[in-house]
């Protein structure tokens, strides 16, 4: 080892920082946080861009932010894998898994996989737009491939982070936990954007919004709060995701912008933000409380309790909140019920303030389905969270 100087010393340094006895957060964790945040905020910006300006090429700032995040993730993870595989550092290799002759942290492989999937979606999306038109649909097949890729990058970094957390203790472990909860809130933030078309206030006196919120959200909240082992994990995740949404709601409309693409149906003059978030902090608190009280019970029982508590709290809070949001009291910059995309005819703006109709029977049926979904995905969340809690490499 004596003759292979600077390179090895650098790798030693890397290993020092990665080893269980390290005292600081490794550089690649910060890199991962920047990458995933860049992708998530870039996506938000992109949706706003499409509601405000419309015209778009590959190189808009929002797309660049997403691409930057993907590239940063790819570079970070490739470096990690190559350094582990070809470096001469036993400590790195010890804390690694093997795949296809390479070695590296598990999260790095998953993250790299996500990056390649994101890149794969680009030519697919290009063909789809050439073939079916330039308008933007959130859930087209190529966008779903992109979403899976982004999920891979995000969960990859979560795994990278949680492995660090699980090997650390004391103050360092607490630090990793905080970063993990931040990353988890980005995951929830991304998920809420996916649901954007289903959970506006005028849809929250009908079953679909509650059913949509009972699929991914309970799983995210349960899994990541379990993996973080924080008493109020779910609450922190939901509160952070809400805070990000509210911050963007208040700041985006400060920037002037006009549509560059006709037909223009609403005269937009500033960046159109996404809506005020659903008050997930309360069902999240319910999840934390149930876990605190019933954490050691049978997993299915626990899942049923989590699911029921989640849905009950969600409905109890969101129903009256939706009534407030469609009223004139919410038509201001604070609650944001005044913004419409330029594609939305002004003659139809009133629909935003009118509840989608439903019957008591449909509502009851929908809530039962929501409870069953929330239970099933809470159970999945418990399994996923339990798996994350055991990762060491």
């Amino acid at each position: 080892m004596a003759h292979s100087m600077p390179m090895d010393l650098a790798r030693e340094g890397l290993a020092e920082r990665a080893s269980p006895k390290a005292l600081a957060v490794p550089w690649y964790i910060w890199s991962g946080l920047v990458a995933v945040s860049s992708i998530a905020f870039g996506l938000y910006w992109d949706i706003s861009w499409h509601m405000t300006i419309g015209r778009d090429t590959f190189w808009t700032p929002a797309h660049l932010l997403i691409q930057f995040g993907g590239i940063l993730a790819a570079i970070t993870c490739s470096y990690l894998v190559f350094a582990t595989t070809f470096g001469h550092n036993p400590r790195l290799r010890e804390a690694s898994v093997g795949m296809w002759g390479f070695r590296g942290p598990l999260g790095a492989f998953l993250c790299a996989w996500g990056g390649v999937t994101m890149v794969t979606s680009a030519p697919f999306d290009n063909w789809w737009h050439n073939s079916f038109g330039l308008d933007v649909q959130i859930l087209s097949p190529p966008h779903v491939v992109l979403a899976i890729g982004i999920l891979g990058v995000e969960i990859g970094f979560m795994v990278l982070l949680v492995a660090q957390q699980n090997r650390a203790d004391g103050a360092l472990r607490a630090k990793f936990t905080r970063l993990f909860l931040y990353m988890a809130s980005i995951g929830l933030f991304l998920h809420l954007m996916l649901l954007a078309e289903l959970i506006d206030p005028n849809q929250m006196h009908a079953p679909m919004g509650y059913r949509a919120l009972s699929l991914g959200a309970p799983m995210i909240l349960v899994a990541y709060s379990l993996a973080s082992d924080h008493k109020w994990g779910a609450t922190i995740i939901a509160a952070s995701a809400m805070a990000m949404r509210i911050f963007f709601l208040w700041t985006f409309p400060l920037f002037p912008a006009t549509p560059k693409l006709g037909p223009v149906y609403t005269n937009v003059t500033h960046m159109v933000p996404l809506s005020f978030p659903v008050l997930l902090i309360f069902p999240a608190m319910a999840i934390d409380l149930v876990r605190q009280r019933l954490g050691n019970r049978n997993k299915w029982l626990l899942a049923a309790a989590l699911g029921a508590a989640y849905v009950a709290t969600l409905v109890a809070i969101e129903w009256p909140w939706a009534s407030f949001m469609v009223s004139p009291l919410a038509r201001n910059r604070i609650f944001g019920m005044i913004y419409f995309p330029y594609q939305f005819p002004s003659t139809l703006h009133y629909l935003a303030y009118k509840f989608e109709p439903t019957t008591a029977a449909e509502m009851a049926r929908g809530l039962v389905i929501a409870c069953v979904s929330a239970t099933a995905t809470s159970r999945l969340g418990l399994a996923f969270g339990g798996w994350l809690a055991k990762i060491r490499r």
Binding site: A95, T117, L134
Partner: protein
């Protein structure tokens, strides 16, 4: 001449679907933008939403800048035009400008072109009907690459789950046990099965999403139902089109008259194109028709003139009140008809069988003893996808140009370009391929226009009140190679005369 820039999108053989005209989707237009005479060509993309290419040529130098903006002609989407795009002159030809237009939805669009230069500025409105024509299949290379990536990604995710089960939860330095390895193999098998199921479901969803989109977006021509009633009466019914109904706000299903008539009907005998009739059916007022089809905007009736028997291709031009045009197609077998003499704007001509002459003549004898001469530039070959000028001159039997052509339905002339297999049919005027009704609607929206006053008409050379003289010209580009017949109709001494020319296009 304006050179055609090839479309950026791969064009699979142009499908016949297209709204106005048949198989001829590009828009050719000329008019006055204040002090400037402009010739405009718009190449619409195969798929809407998509990017159209626009090429503009100023007849004289001195134009420094053009600003273009697309917007709907009528309706909610016409109120807030986005900021215009600025076009600079081309380096090789300072009178030539080109740019791109984003057409985000099907419908009756107009492009406002504002020209700025030495003589001040002026604006012209060019109607551009936009309708999706076809989707694009995936190129083989791209498909292979995506397929390979898919295999790679499935293999990778299976291995990742295997690695996770085998070593992911081990303390650093610990070796996996036999049970870990077995668990890993099981995890990989399960992951593989789940991946295959998800891909199968995903593939099914892709196919169905693609089919639904294509079905919703691609233009569907309404059916034209033609039948013969006793007494030499032809009845025509326009069928419903789901495509039009879905776009009622921007395309609409109500009709407006186009240069004086709700429908222009063309009957051309198949396959030789040796008989041509241009008629104008009417909607019967209060008359009860035995309906061929109950649906659609309604029925039309045409009292037939004397017609020779044969199988006829029928083209019917209509315009909706958004300015959006349609050309409906049908075929009908007609017996020998002894009908009314031609009246009003109706006209007909007999011609030699298409493609008969070894070299297509440039002279067509008209029925009143005069002749129509096609002034071809140099006799060289005609090319498709290129803006061409068709200049015609009418002279008497002694070769002296006449000076008393009259407006025919408000214009110096009308021309119909028809390909020998009937896959192309375009009804063109001196100011281009846009329907007159759409041009008038678009002009009304120009700032400063005062409704149906003199201002709109002054923009159109064809509608000027000055005498026509002996010449008429049409801008047009053939959409594909082949043998075409061109029918040119003018009015002379109170009669509608039709010159017939054949053209081989490369």
């Amino acid at each position: 001449m304006i050179k055609r820039i090839l479309s950026l999108l791969f064009a699979v053989a142009l499908a016949e679907v297209c709204a106005a005209h048949v198989g001829s989707p590009d828009v050719y237009f000329q008019g006055e933008a204040g002090p400037y005479h402009l010739v405009v060509a718009v190449m619409t993309p195969q798929m809407i939403p998509g990017i159209a290419e626009i090429q503009i040529r100023a007849a004289e130098p001195g134009v420094r800048q053009m600003r273009i903006v697309p917007l709907y002609i009528v309706g909610e989407g016409s109120k807030y035009p986005p900021p215009p795009d600025v076009l600079a002159p081309s380096k090789d030809d300072p009178q030539f400008f080109s740019g791109k237009l984003w057409l985000m939805a099907s419908g009756s669009w107009q492009v406002r072109v504002e020209a700025d230069g030495d003589k001040g500025s002026g604006t012209i409105a060019v109607p551009v009907p936009a309708a999706a024509r076809a989707t694009l299949p995936m190129q083989r290379g791209l498909g292979a690459m995506l397929g390979a990536l898919m295999v790679l990604l499935v293999a990778a995710v299976v291995s990742i789950f295997g690695a996770s089960r085998r070593e992911g939860q081990l303390e650093p330095g610990a070796a996996p046990t036999v049970s870990d390895r077995q668990g890993a193999r099981l995890a990989m098998a399960v992951t593989f099965m789940i991946a295959v199921v998800l891909l199968a479901l995903g593939g099914g969803w892709w196919k169905s999403a693609a089919a639904k989109r294509a079905d919703r977006m691609i233009y569907k021509r309404p059916e034209l139902l033609v039948s013969l009633a006793p007494g030499n009466t032809m009845t025509l019914h326009i069928g419903e089109s789901q495509w039009h109904k879905l776009r009622d706000e921007v395309v609409s299903t109500r009709l407006i008259p186009d240069h004086g008539h709700l429908m222009h009907l063309f009957l051309i005998r198949m396959p030789q194109m040796d008989r041509f009739y241009h008629l104008h059916p009417v909607q019967p007022a209060g008359k009860v028709l035995a309906p061929v089809n109950e649906t659609g905007p309604g029925g039309f009736v045409q009292e037939l003139p004397s017609m020779d028997a044969g199988q006829y291709k029928v083209f019917a031009d209509i315009v909706h009140d958004s300015g959006f045009p349609d050309t409906l197609i049908a075929e009908v077998n007609l017996p020998q008809t002894a009908g009314q003499p031609l009246t009003g704007d109706d006209s007909a001509v007999s011609a030699p069988i298409i493609g008969d002459a070894k070299s297509a003549p440039l002279v067509s004898n008209l029925s009143d003893g005069t002749r129509m001469i096609w002034e071809r530039d140099n006799g060289g070959p005609l090319h498709s996808n290129q803006l061409l000028w068709f200049r015609l001159r009418v002279e008497d039997a002694n070769g002296k140009p006449v000076n008393d052509l009259e407006p025919y339905m408000g214009m110096a002339g009308h021309a119909e370009f028809v390909r020998d297999d009937f896959s192309v049919f375009a009804h063109v005027h001196p100011d281009g391929s846009a329907p007159m009704a759409a041009v008038i609607l678009a002009d009304k929206t120009l700032p400063g226009a005062n409704g149906a006053g003199a201002a709109p008409m002054a923009n159109m050379p064809s509608m000027s009140s000055s005498p026509i003289g002996s010449k008429v010209s049409f801008p047009y580009g053939f959409p594909k190679a082949g043998l075409y017949r061109i029918f040119v109709q003018v009015k002379h001494n109170g009669r509608v005369e039709t010159g017939v020319f054949d053209a081989r296009v490369q």
